[in-house]
Symmetry: C2
Subunit: 218 residues, 2 copies
């Protein structure tokens, strides 16, 4: 058993600490974040810090690292007020990873990494045509985190583009059928296998699988 303290974490070699801390909380939501500048130059980057904030209104948060010279994403979100989140599929996850390369401003990762732009009416930001679960968001709040220079971006879901067959009767997205991937740490990609769908938990009732669990997991 290892038991590490804050002091020991602070003394770690930088890259070792980055790998450790990035992987501690487990698997993370994995999406391609699509934006456009007001001049129509699109941008695409891989993001694994997306979190559910609430269902009514439908809100999602994500973390953007401190602005660097080539970090166009935050600038685009602020200037257009719109962005998209698109799931990552096994067929092209390597190209999705490639969007994290430091391309020069003016070159779109859509073009550099071979992704298809998809647009819908009255919405500026580009969706990823290659994905099968796509969300369009409008910026609601920007929280500048003084503690480490990152920015938490809160957006409201105003578009959902997906296939009928991927939404279960109760509204849940079937990510297993969609083949949505997940990531842990900085560079390792995974495809989850369903284990069980559980009934709503109540005190005094033993936890149990939903009756239709064997037929379909969602």
């Amino acid at each position: 058993m290892i038991s590490l303290t804050g002091e020991q974490i602070a003394e770690m070699e930088k890259q070792y600490r980055i790998s450790l801390i990035n992987s501690l909380i487990g698997y993370r939501s994995l999406n391609l974040l699509g934006t456009t500048s007001n001049d129509g130059i699109t941008n695409l980057c891989l993001i694994s810090s997306t979190f559910h904030l609430g269902a009514n209104p439908p809100l999602v948060g994500l973390v953007i690292r401190p602005e660097r010279e080539h970090n166009d994403t935050l600038r685009n979100i602020k200037s257009t007020g719109q962005y998209t989140l698109n799931n990552v599929l096994p067929e092209w996850y390597m190209q999705a990873h490639q969007t994290s390369a430091s391309y020069p401003s003016g070159l779109s990762e859509f073009d550099a990494c071979g992704f298809k732009k998809q647009y819908v009416k009255d919405f500026k930001a580009p969706f990823v045509g290659n994905s099968n679960v796509r969300i369009g968001l409008e910026l609601r709040e920007v929280i500048d985190m003084e503690i480490n220079g990152t920015t938490i971006v809160i957006g409201e879901i105003v578009r959902i583009l997906t296939d009928d067959s991927l939404i279960a009767e109760d509204g849940t997205v079937d990510h297993s059928k969609a083949e949505t991937m997940t990531a842990a740490g900085l560079d390792t990609y995974f495809l989850p296998q369903p284990v069980g769908r559980l009934a709503y938990a109540k005190p005094g009732i033993e936890p149990h699988l939903l009756k239709d669990n064997t037929r379909s997991l969602i």
Copy 2:
């Protein structure tokens, strides 16, 4: 293909919308959140809104829903300034789900759901002895979200309790070996299978698997 607008989402039946919105962003970090009151009454709840905020200092964020009568977690975090995050394993994921049942105040979910409390020196909050990747955090910031009444809690990682064999040479936690689970939506649990570990992305270089990919995925 379905294409939904914000208006259509707002008009959905409440439970359908909750299931849909909760599952849109894909797989989520899954942890048991352990706290204690100043009186020593422990609390344990399942949380899937944890996100990575930064590695230096090592910061993690999570979302807590609006305070209800029985929501002791936020009160405990605020009053003691400490909490723990513990990974969920297949052997007992049903008990972990059961912590979301609405137990009366004063009854600890550790006891009600059969979890083993684990304590370390100079740290008040209880870890889950049944987990194999455990993080101890100190509260750094509380952000009250006016937009929907939730609270974003930012904490610094000050303890790590795990097994030596679960940390790879480069510092990455091997969640595949640990058998850490993930969740999508409200009630479905998954065990991810590794697909590939990729090399650091650079412009002009085709994305590729790391050389040691076949030997070990992390």
